[in-house]
């Protein structure tokens, strides 16, 4: 069954159903779970960026009051590659005793050389610091279009070659990583209250680890406080706490503290490099060359999406790219809200604006983008006419036009640096793209009871989609009810299958399943009550709040109809089916800044985010997700940076004091426009709105002061340095 063509609830603005319990603190996050007789655990970590464990002595720790158990995570002799690496988990009766126990564990280390800065690792003949013969710097891919070297920069009017960079940042989940684990008396069944974005997956991972049937693991995540891609598995801390719960036969809680959350809870890798870009005299970009590197920490992955450079402008005729992976003695990268895309966007959109500025007079960067938009793909237009590839030119053109109006672009844009005064204003733009499709293995179950109540269940988690509300809206639409009439239960693995919340797939994965389940429940309901109404099931239809018999045009209120179920309930189940969701979005953002050229302080005053999203389920939720993405991107632009000390190898700002995050006074006016395209079906937008923000802010700063600040975040010292370099040049 397709989406209803006339939609009463879907696409309206529905406040989160769980807003009151969240706002009042009644919602219980994993961090809030306290079980009877619960013990506490924490992990002893290596303070050195690179060290070999010589010995682990627990004799003193065992004598600490309240001590209950250890769980060894590494053996003496092992080489640890970053500060914060796990050594041993300890368990005690209180949090305080647990800390005392952890501190009483004596670990002897052989401290080994480390590298925590990209520029140090890139020095020639650098000794490896990753154990064995592993070099710190390795290839991350190379590509060039045909005849690049011979032809790319021929017949071009302007060329820019410049360096750009973004640092390693941390996920900084407000609720840190962690679990409460509890076994039953026979140690046969495990319940885990996990802060995770993958409820059934995590249940399966525990089952696999402990070699027990997955039916004996219950993972519960009723509420979770942020994951951003860093909470797909139990992690060493999650497995350790379940081990300790088994050893002690008691519930045990282990949540990372803030410093742990920052240093081991996940990072987005850095990206930096040289971009050479050139355009013909008509302002058409002909060539894009990038030689970049970035650090996934001790991980091995590339830090940009190589195949997607130059990002949305993939049609540029001559492209050459090279990436190097710089491995450092810091935690390994984890997926973070649109992995690789913000870096790609930055390495592309900054260079575009620098190139537009080379023309005389400088080209308006909005016009420059319009001139260089990727065309709609004719093959895709034939085979998949609703796809991003088939529509991208159309989508970006429409979005740019909306952004132009909402940002008052024509009034605000000026030649770079042309604004007068001490505080210079500027405006910038950037474009992004993302997938966001749904898929199978999302079980939704809808139960209609005789008292008129409706229950909707799915094991999925609310990572930020306002998932309870999404499911309630869809079910309410089908059953002629209001979202608040639907009781939604999520975040429990026994409810069935659901896919991890990654890739902006949760809403497009579960909303179609909810539609199918609600349709099935309604049909079962009609079958059950039709005989009692002397009607054929096919004659019954739903109207808002009513069930109507088309046979005699008689209707009755919903609850009265439900009462005909007697002792029965009507149940419908559904999974995702094709045709109800799609993937592939564009997105355009503009940023306005005011740069104090005496202090270098950048304030972002307004951001316009235009986001296409297919069929909108909850407009308020979509707007909220987009605003959240913008805020995250703004922090990437102005504040966030994981800072490591070369000598100690330790992160100096594993906190929220000097790992800076904007507060309410630092927030701009955020104007969100959801560009509905209901004919495309549901598309997830959790990730895309955070991609373009940093690049748009960077371009706004350039527009304001007329000189590029090459590295984010755009801190006062960097802005002043950029301004000074311009003065030096002239």
């Amino acid at each position: 069954m397709p989406w209803p063509s006339k939609r009463r609830v879907i696409g309206t603005k529905v406040p989160r159903l769980d807003a009151p319990v969240k706002a009042t603190g009644r919602a219980k996050y994993s961090f809030d779970i306290n079980r009877p007789g619960m013990l506490h655990a924490r992990i002893v970590r290596c303070p050195h960026a690179h060290a070999r464990v010589k010995s682990i002595d627990t004799a003193a720790a065992e004598k600490i009051p309240g001590f209950r158990a250890f769980h060894l995570l590494v053996k003496p002799g092992v080489e640890l590659l970053f500060a914060g690496a796990e050594i041993i988990a300890v368990c005690a009766d209180t949090e305080e005793h647990c800390e005392d126990v952890a501190r009483a564990v004596r670990v002897a280390y052989e401290v080994l050389p480390h590298l925590v800065k990209e520029e140090d690792a890139l020095r020639p003949n650098q000794q490896g610091t990753l154990g064995g013969n592993d070099p710190n710097v390795g290839p991350g891919g190379e590509f060039a279009t045909a005849n690049f070297d011979a032809q790319a920069f021929q017949n071009v009017a302007h060329t820019v070659e410049a360096r750009y960079g973004v640092p390693v940042i941390c996920h900084q989940c407000l609720e840190s990583h962690g679990q409460v684990a509890e076994w039953d008396k026979d140690l046969a069944n495990l319940t885990v209250y996990a802060s995770t974005q993958a409820v059934p997956l995590v249940a399966g991972q525990y089952a696999q680890y402990f070699k027990i049937p997955v039916t004996r693991v219950k993972c519960i995540t009723h509420y979770m406080g942020g994951g951003f891609g860093s909470k797909f598995n139990p992690g060493p801390e999650g497995l350790a706490v379940a081990e300790l719960a088994r050893k002690t036969r008691a519930p045990v809680k282990l949540m990372l503290d803030r410093a742990e959350e920052v240093t081991v809870g996940g990072q987005r890798p850095s990206a930096a490099g040289t971009v050479k870009i050139a355009a013909t005299k008509d302002g058409v970009v002909r060539a894009y060359e990038v030689d970049c590197y970035g650090s996934p920490g001790v991980g091995r992955g590339a830090t940009v999406n190589m195949q997607y450079l130059p990002y949305v402008y993939s049609h540029i005729p001559f492209i050459k790219r090279k990436h190097r992976v710089v491995r450092l003695n810091i935690q390994t990268a984890r997926a973070m809200r649109a992995p690789g895309h913000p870096q790609n966007c930055y390495l592309t959109d900054q260079a575009l604006d620098d190139l537009a500025a080379r023309f005389n007079p400088p080209i308006d960067t909005l016009q420059f983008r319009l001139r260089n938009l990727p065309p709609n793909d004719p093959d895709a237009a034939k085979n998949a006419p609703l796809s991003y590839l088939a529509l991208r030119h159309t989508i970006y053109t429409r979005e740019i036009e909306i952004a132009r109006k909402l940002s008052q672009w024509d009034k605000k844009w000026h030649a770079p640096g042309a604004d007068k005064g001490v505080v210079k204003r500027g405006i910038g733009m950037a474009l992004h793209t993302w997938g966001g499709g749904g898929g199978v293995n999302n079980d939704v179950r809808v139960t209609i009871s005789a008292d008129g109540s409706v229950l909707c269940q799915c094991s999925t988690q609310d990572l930020g989609t306002a998932e309870r509300t999404v499911l309630a809206i869809v079910v309410a639409e089908v059953l002629g009810l209001e979202p608040r009439d639907i009781t939604v239960q999520i975040g429990e693995s026994p409810f069935g299958r659901s896919t991890p919340s990654g890739g902006s797939t949760t809403c497009p994965g579960t909303a179609p399943a909810a539609l199918n389940a609600a349709n099935a429940a309604r049909d079962a309901f009609f079958r059950a009550i039709a005989p009692r109404l002397n009607a054929q099931p096919g004659d019954l239809v739903i109207e808002p709040g009513r069930v109507v018999n088309r046979g005699n045009n008689e209707g009755m209120p919903w609850r009265q109809a439900c009462a005909r179920l007697g002792q029965n309930t009507s149940v419908g189940t559904g999974d995702w089916t094709p045709g109800l969701s799609l993937q592939g979005v564009g997105g355009v953002q503009t940023a306005e800044v005011a740069v104090d050229t005496e202090t270098g302080v950048v304030r972002c005053t307004k951001i316009v985010a235009v986001q296409d999203c297919g069929l909108v389920i909850n407009k308020l939720g979509c707007e909220s997700q987009t605003a959240g993405g913008v805020i995250m991107g703004l922090n990437y632009a102005l504040f966030e940076e994981a800072i490591f000390d070369r000598t100690t190898g330790r992160q100096v700002n594993p906190n929220m004091e000097f790992y800076k995050l904007g507060g309410i006074q630092d927030m701009p006016d955020i104007v969100v426009h959801m560009m509905d395209m209901p004919e495309r079906g549901v598309i997830g937008i959790g990730e895309p709105p955070t991609i373009a923000t940093c690049a748009a802010v960077g371009n706004a700063v350039f527009n304001a002061i007329g000189v590029r600040v090459p590295n984010a975040p755009f801190t006062p010292d960097r802005v002043l340095a950029a301004l000074a370099s311009r003065k030096g040049n002239r």
């Binding site: 305080e96 202090t599 270098g600 100690t648 004091e657 904007g662 507060g663 309410i664 006062p716 010292d717």
Partner: protein, 329 residues
């Protein structure tokens, strides 16, 4: 944090009797916004914590024509909102109102603001054994020092003093009342701070068994202001702060005092040149700013603070003189 015994005395003498003759074993607890952080990080590990919450005589703001006396236990939020302080010392009111966020200002006290430990990220990392914790070196000297001193010369430890009330109070010729085993003592606030170099020294001249009980500011009709350059508007430390005061007659200013914050291990009294006997204009204020930054010896990452000192001084002078804030659009 390490276990400790909690004491709640009711008088200053009782509180003093609980202190020790060496640092580290006993700590005074006022708002707790600094001490508890240090304890949680195991940088402070006192066995005795002496709460000042029940001590009589530490609260209250007493204002008359000659002076304003502020008890050490007065909360920052109260200072920021107090009518006499806003009237006579707008620089102090603004500095107090800009500290941290509302939660910090509702807990943090005047005495705590003056006596708080520095924010150096090496000092506050338990695993980094810096000079102030008995180690052999200052890690900031050659390390990550973007928030450290710009007047670093002569210092083995290159922290900046974190108090933003201190520069204003020094510019206003405030005195601080210290009580200890030898009784009561009034100290010019300008002489209250010191640059610590090891575990037996702190950021003030207080002995381990002394405490601040009040601050007194003379009312002399000085124009005054404080200006902070901050990266974030919500909840951030200043990168550089300038506090100024001066007398005014016939449109000309005299007795100009300039005190800088967040540029040196102590609040830095700068020489006021290029402005005395003249009117405050953008030009004279800028000249005074340049003079104030003279002699700075920045670290590898604090060169930018020189420019910020110039600007902060200029803007503070203009604010104190009631001139147009040209940087506010």
């Amino acid at each position: 944090m390490k276990n400790f015994t909690y004491y709640r005395p009711t008088s200053v003498d009782q509180a003093l009797a609980l202190l020790d003759t060496r640092w580290g074993t006993a700590e005074l607890l006022a708002g707790g916004t600094d001490l508890h952080d240090l304890q949680k990080e195991y940088v402070a590990q006192p066995s005795r914590v002496v709460s000042l919450g029940g001590v009589n005589g530490l609260g209250g703001i007493a204002a008359n024509d000659r002076e304003v006396r502020i008890g050490a236990g007065v909360k920052l939020a109260e200072i920021a909102a107090h009518a006499a302080i806003r009237k006579h010392f707008p620089g102090l009111a603004s500095a107090a109102g800009d500290v941290g966020g509302p939660q910090i200002r509702n807990m943090g006290t005047l005495g705590g603001n003056l006596c708080q430990r520095n924010r150096c990220w090496y000092f506050r990392d338990e695993h980094t054994n810096c000079l102030l914790k008995g180690g052999q070196r200052c890690f900031a000297l050659e390390g990550e020092n973007r928030y450290h001193a710009a007047f670093a010369q002569g210092h083995r430890c290159v922290i900046v003093n974190p108090s933003t009330l201190a520069p204003v109070l020094i510019a206003l010729d405030a005195t601080v009342e210290v009580q200890g085993p030898r009784g009561r003592n009034n100290v010019e606030l300008a002489k209250f701070f010191r640059a610590p170099t090891g575990p037996t020294e702190r950021e003030t001249i207080l002995a381990p068994n002394e405490m601040v009980t009040s601050v007194t500011i003379p009312v002399r009709g000085l124009a005054n202001a404080s200006y902070e350059v901050r990266q974030k508007q919500s909840y951030d430390w200043p990168l550089v702060q300038a506090a100024v005061s001066f007398t005014r007659q016939d449109g000309k200013v005299n007795a100009v005092k300039i005190v800088l914050g967040h540029v040196a291990p102590t609040p830095q009294v700068a020489e006021a040149r290029g402005i005395a006997g003249r009117a405050v204009t953008e030009d004279t204020a800028a000249a005074a700013g340049r003079a104030a930054a003279e002699g700075a010896k920045p670290l590898s990452q604090t060169g930018y603070k020189i420019r910020l000192i110039e600007v902060a001084v200029k803007r503070a002078l203009l604010i104190a003189a009631g001139q147009k804030r040209y940087w506010e659009a």
